[in-house]
C-alpha cells in the first residue's frame, strides 16, 4: 500500500526518471497516470518493438503499414481493405461475455477510425479443455459475447478458430479480427492535413469509471487467480451505441468534414488526444469540464484514462463543426468539443479552469521506453524435440484412431460456435464459416476478399519459430486453396510474461518465423497487436502468434469449395506426406503425447503449392480443394466428404504405416478433386509448377472407403464430427 505511486501504477524507477527529465520537474499524479497508461506494455509495445522491426512490412499492395489504427491494402478499383486483429484475453478471463463483447467493439472502432466500413469479423479463440466446467463457462460466455456484440452491430462474423489446450485454461486467448473497406483516397490516416485551431470533437457514449487503470493494471500485470481487485474494471458493452457510432463516423468521413478520426481504446482520452496531436506534430488543449460524464464527480485522472467504450474523437475544422454535430445528433449521439489543436508540442489539460497536466504530446505517444529484454531458451527444449512420437508403437485400430481424432474438439466441427454468429448480414458473404477461408464479395465488382485466421498452438509450444512460420503458411494456404492470392497479414501475438527470458525467447523466435514466412510468401505485415502477461502463477499460455490473412480473388464465381460434389471425380493429393507426427493431433489424442518435432516447413515448396492452387482455380481446373493440416490427410478427406455429402474410395500407399499416411501433418499439401476431363490439365500444371502429386482415388457413394483400412458411412461420421462439441458442453 505504501508503494510509491509510480510503482503502483506500473511505472519503473527508470521510467520515472525519464519522465522527470522530459518535464524538467516531478510529474503530478494526473501526469503519472497518463504516462502509466501510455507507457504500459499494452500501449507502448515497449518489450516487443525492437523485435517487431524485423517483420517485413512493405509491398506494392500495402497502402498503410503498421503504426496507424490499422493497416490498409490496395485491392484495385480505387478500393482499400483495412484490417487488424486484437486481443481481449484479460477482460474475457474475468467476465467472458462482456470481455469478448467489448473486444469486438474495440477492434471495430480501430477499423472505423481509418474511415473504413467494417464488413467482416473473425474470432480466433483458445481455451482450456472442455472437460472442465470453468472452461465450458468461459468458452460459451466468450462465444455468446462475440455474437451478442457482432450480431447487434451488423458486421458478419465469417470465420475464426477454436483450440483447446490446458495452458489456455487459466488464461483463455480471445482475439478478434475486423476487416473493413474504404475508398482508398478517403482513408483517414495521419497523412491528412491538420490545421492549428482545429477542434477535438468527442462523440458517442458518456465517460464513466470504466476500466480506470485497466491498461496498466489489467493488461500489464499478471492476473492472479481469483483476483478480486480487477473485477470492478469490467465493462459492459453497448453494441447499439456502437452501431450508431459506426454510422455517424462513416457519414462524417463521407461528407469529408474530418481532418482526423481516433477511436478511444486503451488509455482512453489520453491516448486519443496525445496521438492526434503528435501525429499532427502539434500540441493540444484539453478541457475535461467539457467531457460528458455518466457519473458525477470523476477526477481528472479518471476522465483522462477512462476506457469507457463506444466513444470516438474527431478532428474538425471550426467551420464544419455545426455539420459534424448535426450528423452525430441525427444518429442519436451526443457530441462535445473537448479541446483544440495548437502549435507547439504541448498537451495542456484543464479541469475547473486549472491546469491539471502539461506534457509534451510526443513524449506520451511516441517516446515511450523500449526494452531489449533478456532471452533464453527454456530448459529441456531439445529433449522434448528429440522425443519424437512418429515411430512409436501404435496399438489402436484405424477406426478408433479416426474417431478419436475427429471427435477431438480441436478437429471437430465448430458449428456450435459459428451458428451463434450472424455470418450473412450486409449481403456479401459468398462463403461463410466452415470452409478453409471465408469469402466476402465487394459490391459492384466480381472481386472478393478471402479471409482466414490461424495459429498453431502445439507446434509453437514445441518450436516457436516453426509454430509462427506454419501459422503464416497455413493461413496463406487456406486462402490459396479457394483460389485467392494471399496479399498481406495482420497478427495478434499472445505470450506470457516478457520479463521472463524464456517467454522473450519464444517471442523473438516467433517473430523470426513469421518474418521468414511472410517474406517467402510475399505477404507483408500491415499491423497487429501484442498481448503479453498471459499467465498466472508460473504457467503461461503457449506462445501463440495468430495470423489474420487477407487474400483476393478477382472473380468470385471461380472460387473452389472444399466439398466433394458428384461422383467419379479423381481425387489428388498435391504435395507430399512425410513421417511427421511430432506435435500432431494424432500424437496428442491417440498417443497421449505432446513432444517431438513439428513438421518441417519448406517455404519454397509451400509457395509453389500455393501458386499451383491459385493458377488451377483461375484455369477452372478444380472441382474441390481443401487444405491439409490439423489431423492430416484423413481429416481432410473426411471433411471434404461431409461438406459435399459425397463419399470416396481412396488407396493408401503401402510403404509407410497407415497412421503416418492418415495422420501425419506434413505441410504444403492439399486435397483436390477434378472433373475426369480436367485431370490431365491439372497434372500438367502440377508438373510445370514443380509440385509433386499423387492420385488418391475417386469421389462418390455414401461411404468413405480407405482401401483395406476403413469403410464408414458419411452420415455416421458427420454425426461424430458435428456432435462432439455439443456433447462435451452437455458436461
Amino acid at each position: 500500500m505504501d508503494q510509491p505511486l509510480h510503482l503502483a501504477l506500473g511505472l519503473t524507477d527508470d521510467e520515472l526518471d525519464r519522465i522527470r527529465q522530459t518535464l524538467g520537474r516531478d510529474p503530478n499524479p494526473n501526469e503519472l497516470a497518463m504516462y502509466a497508461a501510455m507507457w504500459s506494455e499494452h500501449c507502448s509495445y515497449k518489450s516487443s518493438k525492437v523485435h517487431l522491426r524485423r517483420l517485413p512490412t512493405e509491398g506494392p499492395q500495402v497502402l498503410v503499414g503498421p503504426g496507424q489504427d490499422a493497416g490498409a491494402v490496395d485491392i484495385g478499383d480505387g478500393l482499400a481493405v483495412v484490417f487488424k486483429m486484437e486481443s481481449h484475453s484479460h477482460p474475457s478471463a474475468v467476465e467472458p461475455y462482456q470481455g469478448a463483447a467489448t473486444g469486438v467493439g474495440g477492434i471495430v472502432r480501430d477499423i472505423v477510425a481509418m474511415g473504413a466500413r467494417p464488413i467482416a469479423l473473425l474470432d480466433p479463440l483458445r481455451f482450456g479443455p472442455l472437460t472442465d466446467e470453468r472452461n465450458r463457462f468461459l468458452f460459451s460466455g466468450v462465444v455468446a459475447g462475440i455474437g451478442g456484440y457482432g450480431n447487434c452491430i451488423g458486421v458478419p462474423t465469417v470465420g475464426g478458430e477454436v483450440h483447446f489446450a490446458e495452458p489456455h485454461g487459466a488464461n483463455p486467448t480471445v482475439n478478434v479480427m475486423c476487416v473493413g473497406i474504404a475508398q482508398a483516397d478517403r482513408l483517414v490516416t495521419s497523412a491528412r492535413e491538420v490545421h492549428e485551431g482545429s477542434l477535438l470533437l468527442l462523440f458517442g457514449a458518456a465517460t464513466g469509471r470504466d476500466g480506470i487503470g485497466g491498461v496498466s493494471v489489467l493488461a500489464s500485470r499478471t492476473l492472479e487467480e481469483g483476483s478480486e481487485e480487477s473485477r470492478p474494471s469490467v465493462q459492459i458493452g453497448d453494441p447499439f451505441a456502437e452501431k450508431l457510432l459506426i454510422e455517424a463516423s462513416l457519414e462524417l468521413v463521407e461528407r469529408d468534414v474530418l481532418e482526423g478520426l481516433q477511436d478511444l481504446g486503451g488509455a482512453g482520452l489520453t491516448c486519443a488526444v496525445s496521438e492526434s496531436a503528435a501525429r499532427a506534430r502539434m500540441g493540444a488543449d484539453l478541457d475535461l469540464d467539457a467531457v460528458p460524464l455518466r457519473e458525477p464527480s470523476l477526477q481528472a485522472f479518471e476522465i483522462l484514462t477512462s476506457e469507457s467504450q463506444e466513444r470516438m474523437l474527431a478532428i474538425v475544422r471550426p467551420d464544419r463543426l455545426e455539420e459534424a454535430r448535426e450528423v452525430c445528433a441525427r444518429w442519436g449521439l451526443s457530441s462535445a468539443v473537448v479541446g483544440s489543436l495548437r502549435a507547439g508540442g504541448g498537451l495542456t489539460v484543464r479541469l475547473g479552469g486549472n491546469v491539471v497536466a502539461e506534457i509534451p504530446a510526443r513524449s506520451l505517444a511516441d517516446e515511450g521506453p523500449e526494452y531489449y529484454r533478456p532471452m533464453e531458451p527454456p530448459l529441456g527444449v531439445d529433449e522434448v524435440l528429440d522425443d519424437d512420437p512418429t515411430f512409436a508403437t501404435v496399438e489402436v485400430a484405424p477406426e478408433a484412431a479416426l474417431r478419436s481424432v475427429l471427435t477431438s474438439p480441436n478437429i471437430a466441427s465448430k458449428r456450435w460456435v459459428w451458428e451463434q454468429y450472424d455470418s450473412l448480414v450486409q449481403g456479401g458473404t459468398v462463403l461463410g464459416p466452415g470452409a478453409d477461408a471465408a469469402v466476402i464479395r465487394i459490391e459492384g465488382t466480381l472481386k472478393a476478399l478471402v479471409l482466414s485466421s490461424d495459429g498453431k498452438g502445439r507446434y509453437g509450444a514445441l518450436d516457436p519459430y516453426l509454430g509462427a512460420a506454419h501459422a503464416v503458411a497455413e493461413a496463406a494456404r487456406n486462402v490459396s486453396t479457394l483460389g485467392a492470392k494471399p496479399l498481406a497479414i495482420t497478427n495478434c501475438l499472445n505470450f506470457g510474461n516478457p520479463e521472463r527470458p524464456e517467454v522473450m525467447w519464444q517471442f523473438a523466435e516467433s517473430i523470426q518465423g513469421m518474418a521468414d514466412a511472410c517474406r517467402a510468401l510475399e505477404t507483408p505485415v500491415t499491423g497487429g497487436n501484442v498481448s503479453f502477461y498471459n499467465e498466472s502463477g508460473d504457467s503461461a499460455i503457449w506462445p501463440t502468434p495468430v495470423i489474420g490473412m487477407l487474400g483476393l480473388i478477382e472473380d468470385y464465381r471461380l472460387l473452389v469449395r472444399p466439398g466433394f460434389s458428384g461422383s467419379g471425380l479423381p481425387i489428388y493429393l498435391l504435395g507430399e506426406t512425410f513421417p511427421e507426427l511430432g506435435g500432431s493431433e494424432f500424437a496428442e489424442v491417440v498417443l497421449g503425447t505432446l513432444a517431438g518435432r513439428p513438421p518441417a516447413l519448406d517455404l519454397d515448396r509451400e509457395a509453389l503449392l500455393q501458386r499451383l492452387l491459385v493458377d488451377a482455380a483461375a484455369a477452372d481446373l478444380l472441382d474441390s480443394a481443401h487444405d491439409c493440416s490439423d489431423g492430416g490427410l484423413a481429416v481432410t478427406l473426411v471433411e471434404s466428404a461431409i461438406a459435399g455429402d459425397t463419399g470416396f474410395a481412396a488407396n493408401l500407399p503401402g510403404d509407410v504405416p497407415w497412421y503416418v499416411t492418415l495422420f501425419s501433418e506434413s505441410a504444403s499439401r492439399a486435397v483436390v478433386s477434378v472433373a475426369p476431363e480436367r485431370a490431365d490439365g491439372l497434372e500438367e500444371l502440377a508438373v510445370a509448377r514443380g509440385v509433386p502429386f499423387s492420385r488418391l482415388g475417386e469421389t462418390g457413394g455414401p461411404r468413405m472407403v480407405f482401401d483395406g483400412l476403413l469403410d464408414l458411412a458419411v452420415e455416421d461420421v458427420r454425426g461424430l464430427y458435428e456432435d462432439a462439441i455439443p456433447r462435451l458442453l452437455a458436461g
Partner: protein, 235 residues
Amino acid sequence: MTRRPRIGVITFPGSLDDRDALRSVRFMGGEGVPLWHAEHDLREIDAVILPGGFSYGDYLRTGAIARFAAVMDEVRTFAARGGPVLGICNGFQILCEAGLLPGALIRNRQLRFVCRWVDVRVESSRSVLTEGLASGEVLRVPVKHGEGQFVAGAGDLRRIEDEGLVVLRYCGRDGAVDDAHNVNGSLDAIAGVRSEGGNVVGLMPHPEHAVDPDLGPTGGQPMFASLLASALARV
C-alpha cells in the same frame, strides 16, 4: 409495366439488414426507397419493408421502442388502407409490438442466437408475401435471430390457426413439420403470420438474404416476387 413498384425500406436506429433489403428489391426489379424512422413520410411507396436488425439494440424487448417511431404512424395508416407491409425478423417483432400482427417473439428455446439455413412451408397464399405460391411449397431461406420464438396466448393462437393467419412454418426438406426442424421452439412451428387482410406479413427468416444465386439458395425470390406483384397491383 409502366413503372417499377416503389418499395420503401425503413431504417430505424439499429436496423442492420436495411441495405440488404433495398439491394434485394432492386435485384428483383423493384425500386428501393430508403425511409427514415423519424420522418412522417412514406414517399409515395407501393409497399413498405421493416427490415431486420436490432432496433434500439433490442434492449427491453425486441421492437418495443421502435414501434413508437414517427414513421410508424404512417405505416399504420398505410396498412389500414390495405398497403403491403412486410416485417422481416426485427421488422416482424416491431409489427407485433405495434399490434399490427398477432402474437409476440421471445428468446429462442435454446437461449442462443441461431444463424442457419432452414426450410419453411407455405401455409397460406392469402398474403402479400405468398400470393402465387401454393400451400405446401417448401422454400429455403436463412434465419438469424436470438429472439424468434413465436408465442401467443392460447386464445390468440387458436384464432391465428382457425383464421389461417399462419403464412409459413419451419419444416424439413420434404415439408414435414416436426420438433427437430423447429429452429427456435415457436408455437406450432410458426415462422410467419399475416393480418386478417393479408396485407401485413411478418416472418423471422430473411428472404432478402436468399435472392442472389451467387450467395446461396434462392427461396426468397418467390416471396419478393409476390411482394412486388402485390405492390404493383396498387399502382
